[in-house]
């Protein structure tokens, strides 16, 4: 939030800002700090004090907003996935006139693009989260499920909507996420774009079969 958007620009000193604005701003700083710190040093070794120091927020303020470290992490995690899903959705929608496989390529390309720029966040979102306890893992699963609608459009495109197994979308997402997980865990997050052709094959193959998926994979590898 940019302070220039405050309603009265002549009274821009922080003490005059509405209370709700201050609260939200501290909350956002905490969420941001939680992401940065846990991305840098891992969720387990991150303490609330680390987060407070980076956010410049008092312990009292933290305690008023969050039940504890986990609650703060979960909310920050949700925010990260909101950004990821919005980014992928935008790319998928921008390719609305294209055949479904190309829209998936656009979405995957946007995904690995963002994850490779934000390698620390990628590690947090895809790897750390699986070690951050039951609640975090549940969030992770429902977050991944948000990509399902994009994939399920492939049912109609495949022309064999009825025959495809019910689990096709989850299978495809699982395959792709596991490949991303392995890369990010191995410290190759910044070069994630290199596996884009592989991801394209893994996601498309269950819907359009190995030959058509391989064609798309080759096209992506050639960069056309």
């Amino acid at each position: 939030m940019d302070s220039s958007s405050a309603p009265n620009p002549t009274k821009a000193t922080s003490s005059d800002l509405p209370r709700a604005y201050l609260v939200r701003s501290e909350r956002e700083r905490l969420l941001e700090a939680m992401l940065r710190v846990s991305a840098a040093k891992g969720y387990e070794t991150t303490s609330v004090d680390d987060v407070l120091a980076v956010a410049g927020v008092s312990r009292e303020a933290f305690d008023q907003m969050f039940a504890g470290k986990e609650a703060c992490f979960l909310e920050a995690y949700e925010a990260v996935f909101d950004v990821l899903v919005a980014h992928v959705t935008a790319a998928f929608e921008a390719a609305a006139g294209e055949p479904w496989p190309q829209r998936i390529v656009a979405g995957l390309s946007a995904l690995v693009g963002l994850l490779s720029i934000e390698a620390g966040i990628a590690r947090l979102a895809m790897v750390e989260v699986t070690a951050a306890g039951e609640a975090a893992r549940a969030r992770y699963r429902s977050a991944l499920a948000r990509f399902t609608p994009f994939l399920e459009e492939g049912r109609d495109y495949s022309g064999q909507s009825e025959e495809l197994p019910a689990d096709t979308a989850r299978f495809a997402i699982g395959g792709a996420t596991s490949m991303i997980f392995d890369e990010v865990r191995a410290g190759r997050g910044p070069e994630l774009k290199r596996i884009l052709p592989d991801l394209v094959f893994a996601v498309l193959m269950p819907y359009i079969g190995p030959e058509a998926a391989e064609d798309e994979m080759r096209r992506v590898a050639r960069g056309t």
Binding site: E134, P165, R170
Partner: protein, 229 residues
């Protein structure tokens, strides 16, 4: 892998010759120091029930009825014990899967038999599945290395389908990895959600996904139907 050397697996079934037995899965007896095995099994049970984070030496002792010294005779701490238990549990499951697959001739037969054994093991003991497949993520880099190695073995088996396919018909190298990862994620999601039933029902879909890239949609649909029967 000196610790593994102490564990010798004796398969009760003799591959193809075991057809006249009525037991569905080959029985395995593990020759290992009884206390050590008790601890390994206890650790898997504790991790399956409470999660790795909450696992403790005390919980393992409670469940096994052993004295503290028995634990420390064999293991330094929770992590080293869990790592040994992971090897033990994965090794035992893998031996059962391999024994089932060995009774079949074709890749598709081996795949079906192996997956059936694996899914039945999960159905019979979802706690073991959680300890091996879900909690491994919470147990640090050494455990994750073992996970990667196990996934690699699954991937290599899947990709051995190539031997039965013409070279120009074969899918790209990444196919097997995608299949193994996709199957893993469906099993993982079920276990992590505490959904303890219906593992066997995954078989038709798994057959479809694995057969599809190597043998095409028709063969995949056929395998799926056969597995539903």
């Amino acid at each position: 892998m000196g610790k593994q050397a102490a564990t010798k697996v004796r398969a009760g079934a003799k591959g193809a010759g075991a057809g006249d037995r009525s037991t569905p899965a080959p029985t395995l007896r593990l020759v290992v120091s009884p206390k050590r095995q008790q601890i390994l099994e206890g650790m898997l049970e504790v991790v399956g029930d409470y999660g790795y984070e909450a696992a403790s030496v005390q919980k393992v002792l409670d469940i096994t009825d052993l004295y503290r010294q028995a634990f420390y005779d064999s293991f330094k701490d929770v992590e080293s014990c869990y790592l040994a238990a992971l090897d033990f549990g994965v090794g035992r499951t893998e031996a059962a899967v391999k024994a089932a697959a060995a009774a079949e001739e074709s890749w598709r037969g081996k795949l079906r038999a192996g997956l059936t054994t694996l899914l039945e093991a999960l159905e019979a003991n979802p706690g073991l599945g959680r300890a091996l497949i879900v909690e491994v993520h919470a147990a640090g880099p050494k455990a994750l290395k073992r996970r990667s190695a196990a996934m690699k073995r699954v991937t290599d088996f899947i990709d051995s389908a190539r031997d039965e396919v013409d070279t120009d018909e074969a899918p790209p190298g990444i196919a097997a990895e995608g299949i193994a990862a996709g199957m893993h994620s469906l099993v993982h999601a079920k276990l992590a959600a505490g959904d303890v039933e219906g593992f066997r029902e995954l078989l038709p879909d798994f057959m479809y996904f694995a057969v599809l890239p190597y043998f095409g949609p028709e063969a995949a649909a056929k395998e799926m139907q056969a597995a539903k029967a």
